[in-house]
């Protein structure tokens, strides 16, 4: 039996259960659902590992008439990381939402819809279906941001909504142009038909701009920090770890699978340039914040910039360097997802414990709530790219690609970026290890529930462990079908 549709049916069914039966203990039921979901994901992973990429025609209508779902190495990797992070966030939310009764009622349906839409995006093989998936992600994510319904989150959520809709329009416009020019929405078929011409360029430009807005890449980043910084902790974790990656994933897929031949080198360098701007701007802004959640949110802006460096490293370079860049980029997606979700979860615990969002309020907590601070630190190690961690491996692969292809300017950007990350992470540590505050007995805190501390630590540990097990996802990325498209990309 084919597992692909179950990855959509399970979250949708659980969404309905949590919507219709709010009196049941929907939190624990959700955890059960996550176990089922993870099992299905693991089985699909295994099957793809053994038999290679799978395609699934929904409704038995072949593309281009119908919609095809595709599960290749990249897809199952992302499915797995989604299931993993979502499960930990769900576990964390069980404890976290105890103090948020009203929000808990609506958190779970939105959580499941978000999960369904993310899975839908990873699996989609059709441009318009991706648009629908993006819409569902947007609405679920915006809904989760404004759950706590105070004036700040409402404003942030609305701005997020408007920017995301603007991005959707850009994407849809481009898809409409591609459809009018080639008559198909199926990505594989489009990859065979597409040619470099004016229509294609305008369409790809429109799509790219739309997706950059949705991914919050530098000049379009401004909606992200208030939205991610203002939301509930498990929501921030899901948003920063997974949601912004969904639009980047589409961008990468499009350039990698569909538009590889039509991507001019100048565009790729331009993408790299805004990525570099994002790294520095996000880093500096993170350094300036005095609220801890805003610091982490700006860190996301900076880290997303690294993803954009993949394009100049992969386009117009030798196949082996291009391959390294893509592997590094995808590993960065995974490493950042783990580290950032760990960071947001641990920060959520810290804020709950000291009862304030200010960084100054964390003075002297190193002896009071060491576990969460340790999780924050581990995640920070991965973000800085120190060995051994997933972040290190990702940046190492990208560095190798940059050095190999002789693009020294990106080497500088990569190294300076890491330095900047270290600066703002240590800013938090300097405060929390403040000896004076420890001695004076400041930083007296409420006890944090064990489950919350443990979840953050678990994810942070995985971000480090990815440094040892990086071969596994990288190997999956080079499964037959992905490999062939990677080779096309580099030629």
């Amino acid at each position: 039996m084919n597992l692909i549709p179950f990855l959509l049916v399970i979250p949708l069914a659980w969404a309905l259960i949590s919507l219709l039966l709010p009196r049941l203990p929907i939190g624990p039921i959700a955890l059960l659902g996550m176990l089922v979901q993870s099992l299905a994901t693991a089985l699909l992973w295994r099957s793809v590992q053994l038999h290679g990429a799978e395609r699934y025609a929904i409704g038995d209508w072949m593309a281009p008439l119908g919609i095809t779902l595709v599960a290749d190495g990249l897809t199952v990797t992302l499915l797995a990381i989604t299931a993993l992070i979502a499960m930990v966030c769900a576990f964390y939310a069980l404890f976290y939402l105890r103090s948020h009764r009203h929000e808990a009622r609506y958190f779970w349906p939105l959580f499941w819809f978000l999960l369904a839409s993310l899975n839908g995006i990873w699996l989609a093989g059709d441009l318009f279906n991706l648009y629908v998936g993006l819409e569902l992600v947007t609405f679920a994510a915006v809904g989760m941001v404004i759950l706590s319904a105070n004036r700040q989150t409402l404003a942030a959520g609305l701005r997020y909504l408007y920017m995301a809709l603007l991005g959707s329009i850009g994407y849809l416009l481009g898809v409409a142009l591609l459809y009018s020019a080639y008559g198909t929405l199926d990505m594989r078929q489009l990859a065979e038909l597409i040619e470099p011409n004016w229509t294609t360029h305008v369409a790809m430009l429109s799509i790219s701009l739309g997706l950059l807005v949705k991914t919050a890449i530098f000049p379009f980043h401004f909606w992200l920090p208030p939205a991610h910084g203002g939301a509930l902790a498990p929501v921030s974790a899901l948003l920063s770890a997974l949601v912004v990656k969904s639009s980047f994933y589409i961008l990468a897929r499009l350039w990698l699978d569909v538009g590889a031949d039509v991507l001019p080198v100048i565009t790729a360098q331009g993408f790299g340039l805004i990525g570099a701007c994002a790294i520095f701007y996000g880093g500096f802004k993170a350094l300036q914040q005095d609220e801890i959640k805003m610091l982490v949110a700006y860190s996301t802006v900076a880290q997303l910039g690294y993803l954009m460096l993949v394009f100049p490293l992969a386009a117009g370079t030798a196949p082996e360097h291009s391959m390294l860049a893509w592997q590094g980029g995808m590993l960065h997606v995974l490493a950042h997802a783990l580290a950032k979700s760990a960071m947001f979860l641990s920060v959520g615990t810290l804020v709950l414990a000291v009862g304030s969002k200010k960084i100054d309020a964390l003075a002297g907590i190193s002896t009071r709530i060491p576990l969460s601070l340790f999780a924050f630190g581990l995640a920070g190690v991965s973000l800085m790219g120190l060995p051994p961690s997933g972040g290190f491996n990702a940046k190492w692969l990208m560095l190798q690609s940059a050095i190999g292809s002789g693009q020294w300017h990106w080497v500088v950007v990569l190294s300076l970026g890491s330095l900047l990350t270290a600066t703002y992470i240590f800013k938090v540590f300097r405060v929390s290890f403040d000896q004076q505050a420890i001695d004076s007995g400041k930083g007296l805190v409420k006890r944090a529930p064990w489950g919350m501390e443990l979840s953050a630590l678990f994810l942070a540990g995985l971000a480090i462990a990815l440094g040892f097990a990086a071969a596994l996802p990288v190997e999956l990325l080079s499964l037959p079908e992905v490999e062939s498209s990677l080779m096309e990309a580099s030629q």
Binding site: V9, I58, G59, G120, Y182, G183, W198
Partner: protein, 324 residues
Amino acid sequence: MNLAFDVLLGIALLLCAAGVFYSRDLFRAVVMFIAFGLLLALVWVRLDAPDLALAEAAIGAGLTGVLMIDAVAHLSAKNAHHQGAQFDQTGARPQLWSRILPVFSAVIIFILLLGAIWWRPDAPVSLPDLVAESLPESGVEHPITAVLLNFRSYDTLLEIAVLLVAVVVAMALKPDTSEPEAGNSKDPILHGLSARLVPPMLVVGVYILWAGSYMPGGAFQGGAILAAALVFLKLAGFGIERLADSLLRIGLALGFIVFLTVATSVMIGGRPFLTYPESVAGELIFFIEAMLTFSIGLILFSLFSQAPPPVAPTSSLQGEQDER
């Protein structure tokens, strides 16, 4: 003659858009937007897309206008409460760049698009031909319904999920304590109007749903009309928003539940997800559409009714003179 009409229509549409855009008075922008929706429906007609025209007439010219008027009433009621504390921005004179920048980017986008359409290659694949070829197997006669409910039903399933999410968010935003619409149902004329207008609305809604299997129409358009009828009833003072919460939830989700159940249960027979057995495809599609119509109607209505009624008389808006 055709060209002359289309050019005039285009100019009218642009005028309305500019009117919305450059209007500092919020209410003027709303009325301009209603007019824009009407003209947009005409544009869809001229583009040979009567299905979209139908949806636009129902949603754009009908429901959206109501929602926006409602929103303006809320805003001005709030405004009257705390004197201009938070809505100062709406009345502020916009900066020069914020007027020029949109025009500038619109011109650039226009030029790029013009080029993209002018030099567009001939499509090597023709989906309309494929649709026409497979139409006999789809169970319906209207190609658009076949695409929405059969060939690309997965998209439609997710779209319904989007609507459902929207209404969940609206429910989450609703304060736990909100009063029902004040009982000013005394107006006998409005009462009489709803008695005469709502039944035909329901009949037309069902007709549009049923027509969807062989001509323009279907679940979305029918649902929009149903929603309009419900909005009407609420405005006329019938307390229909006091539905039991659990009942409302089931009603909202019914279409999605049926759709998902059908989509999944066919897999028991070994068919792929969302594959209708050919012998009953038409019946299944109609059944799903009927349930969707009901749910879409309730969802669109809920988006309107979740908002609490405005708290204060909003006569301030009436006196607002236009500053030229």
